[in-house]
């Protein structure tokens, strides 16, 4: 009798395993060769769903309400789809302060307004004390991808494609970890932001192949998924990866690897080499992409694996994380 444990939910190897088991019975009616974060159905409807259970619910740079909109909207943006509608399911704990709940709704609504997204349907459940840790939000975002270009996705990756990261990695999870483990980092905040306005700047460029926001499991997990799903190799350069001193220090202290920290406003973009510089400069011109960097490329070498050229001049594998990221002393 195998039991679920936290590791199954942390976005790495165990998560992919459980997801493929969950999908198996649905294969009768569904069939997608690659698992993207956002589906494109009926020709032109982009749809994605995600659950938000962040604790603490309010953190520097955002709150669960803002996050619940950004997170799902970003999955649409990553497939080039303009977000238009949100469906929102709330699961709240008895005893939750009503004003606190309404303040998250205010944040969510502000993010929707910013993006001209409509909340079209919703659901609210209240469960007995102790069966929810305050509030969980599930949002389903619906939008439309541009009609005049091939859909983005892993299927379009080829060796030589250049990888761009749009901003400093790991800001969101480092912010949460700092709050959780009693570290004070006045200058740190989550990168939580809707990425559509950034994507809008570049989406017409045909060289864009595939995008993914580096949420649960971080940049490292996204790259591993790409390499494993496509059986292509990926090469990245440690010194190119944008990372703040805040995130660096938190990782040193808690023994975390920043490659695996979740981001909520950071994407990795694969671009045909000829368009890479142009995309980079468009990104850098936007507030959300100021710190964008080319970090590596798709390669024919070491198929299915991600290699990192280290600052020290060595090279090592980047694997998916296994299980929960735990602070450690060793």
């Amino acid at each position: 009798m195998e039991k679920l444990h936290i590791g199954h939910g942390t976005g790495g190897r165990l998560t992919s395993e459980i997801i493929s088991e969950i999908l198996r019975p649905f294969q009768k009616t569904s069939s997608s060769p690659y698992l993207e974060d956002c589906a494109i159905v009926d020709g032109n409807i982009a749809v994605t769903i995600d659950g938000y259970t962040v604790s603490p619910r309010t953190f520097p740079g955002g709150d669960i309400g803002k996050l619940a909109i950004c997170g799902s909207v970003n999955d649409l943006a990553m497939r080039g789809a303009k977000p238009k509608f949100i469906a929102m399911g709330l699961i709240a704990e008895e005893g939750l302060d009503k004003n606190e709940l309404l303040s998250y709704m205010e944040s969510a609504a502000n993010t929707c307004a910013e993006l001209s997204i409509q909340l079209v349907t919703g659901d609210t459940k209240v469960l007995p004390k102790g069966q929810v840790d305050g509030l969980y939000i599930t949002t389903c975002a619906i939008g439309t991808p541009p009609l005049d270009r091939e859909p983005l996705g892993m299927v379009r990756l080829v060796p030589g494609d250049v990888l761009i990261v749009t901003t400093e990695i790991g800001q969101h999870e480092a912010t949460i970890a700092a709050a959780r483990y009693g570290l004070t980092v006045p200058s740190l905040k989550s990168d939580c932001a809707p990425l559509w306005p950034l994507v809008e700047q570049i989406i017409e460029m045909k060289g864009i192949k595939c995008m993914r926001d580096c949420t649960r499991g971080g940049l490292g997990t996204v790259l591993c998924e790409w390499a494993e799903s496509t059986s292509l190799g990926i090469d990245i350069y440690e010194e190119k990866i944008p990372i703040s001193s805040e995130v660096s220090s938190i990782c040193d202290i808690l023994g975390f690897d920043p490659l695996y920290l979740a981001c909520e406003g950071c994407a990795v973009i694969a671009v045909a080499p000829e368009d890479a510089e142009k995309v980079l400069s468009k990104l850098k011109a936007h507030e959300l992409g100021k710190k964008a960097q080319i970090i590596g490329q798709i390669t024919e070498e070491h198929k299915g694996y991600v290699g990192m050229n280290t600052k020290a001049g060595g090279k090592r594998l980047v694997d998916m994380p296994v299980g929960e990221m735990l602070p450690r002393i060793c």
Binding site: H5, R328, C330
Partner: protein
């Protein structure tokens, strides 16, 4: 705290590597085998891809320096049996959570609803004890000399604050006697040891003197930055080639020759040496710490009547040989097959600084 030297620090690594290569090339006939004792070194070496920077003739083997990996399975089972008790809260560093005991792990206990709390400092376990007066809060005391003084302080404080429900399951071990076993090994025939920087902060240089003096092995103490590790390895190579084994600290900022006297006194006050069973190495006399009778009210093994049952290693796991540096992880037949970080068979695969886990995560089998 980024200094202007930050850049230098990274630039110096290839130069150190170049120097090491030249040195070994020059001393052409000599192949050198060095053990990095410390698991944090093992991980740093893999994580920064440093092996690629070493000469072919420089063989680096991993030693038993992961306190989780050397913790005997019977001790892990004891920790789990405590977690199974309704009256207990187990407080532990995150490192211990996924280690498989004979039949389950603390992580699985927690998933079944048992109370297992991850702490980043033993002081949090004291606080837990204060907040839960009706439970025994049992702190898992794992780690070497670096970590043990904090446990010692917590025991002193618990006694002072009369927190009788604060208990420690003491599994602390000491490094030098384990090194003696390794230095003495004919199977291994090491030329030198890269000594652990942070253990040395506490114990200083003296406890290692017997290594060059009695066994003629070269020694360098190093920090954990790539340049520090490379410098340590270079220093060891120089000692070996010159035939002048000694102990040199490449980490003088942190390591005083005499160590940290306050910490040593704390250890003395609270613990007494005892024979300890090291996974892979077997029993090493006087290489463990046990809680002195003055603090026995806080000793979980006495208070909770924990009897250590000898437990067999899982079939086929060659952790023992890996920990002794006799084989590299990829030589274990289970590595990457029956034994992966998702389903670890031995603790070397589960501890984030275990040799097998580091190999799997950062190198696996020469894909790059």
């Amino acid at each position: 705290m980024k200094t202007p030297q930050t850049e230098n620090k990274e630039k110096i690594v290839p130069i150190l590597s170049h120097a090491l290569n030249s040195l070994l090339e020059e001393a052409a006939t000599k192949s050198i085998t060095v053990m990095e004792v410390c698991g944090t070194h093992t991980v740093a070496i893999f994580r920064h891809g440093l092996k690629a920077l070493l000469p072919k003739s420089f063989k680096l083997v991993s030693g038993p320096g992961c306190p989780v990996c050397v913790t005997d399975q019977s001790e892990i089972d004891a920790a789990i049996s405590i977690a199974e008790r309704e009256d207990s809260i187990v407080a532990t560093y995150g490192d211990m959570l996924r280690v498989p005991g004979s039949w389950t792990s603390l992580q699985e206990c927690r998933a079944r609803g048992r109370s297992v709390k991850v702490v980043t400092s033993v002081t949090q376990a004291l606080d837990l004890a204060e907040e839960n007066p009706d439970k025994n809060v049992v702190f898992l005391g794992v780690g070497f000399e670096t970590t043990a003084p904090a446990t010692a302080l917590a025991l002193i404080e618990a006694k002072k604050r009369k927190l009788d429900n604060f208990l420690v399951l003491c599994m602390h071990k000491t490094v030098p006697l384990a090194l003696e076993a390794l230095a003495n090994s004919e199977e291994l025939s090491l030329d030198g040891f890269l000594l652990p920087g942070h253990v040395s902060v506490i114990i200083g240089l003296n406890p290692y003197r017997f290594i060059p003096e009695k066994y003629g092995k070269a020694c360098a103490i190093a920090g954990f930055e790539p340049f520090e590790i490379m410098a340590g390895l270079l220093e060891i190579a120089r000692q070996v080639i010159k035939g002048e084994p000694t102990i040199k600290s490449m980490y003088p900022r942190a390591v005083r020759p005499e160590g940290n006297k306050t910490a040593q006194e704390l250890l003395d006050k609270v613990f007494e040496p005892c024979n300890a069973y090291w996974r892979g190495l077997g029993e090493i006399p006087l290489s463990g710490y046990k809680i002195r009778p003055e603090f026995e009210i806080h000793d979980a093994s006495l208070r909770l009547n924990i009897e250590k049952k000898p437990s067999p290693l899982p079939t086929g796991c060659r952790c023992g040989d890996v920990l002794k540096g006799l084989i590299s992880p990829i030589e274990c037949p289970l590595f990457g097959r029956a034994c992966t970080p998702m389903k670890p068979v031995g603790p070397c695969m589960v501890s984030s600084e275990g040799s097998c886990a580091a190999q799997y995560k950062y190198d696996r089998k020469g894909q790059l």
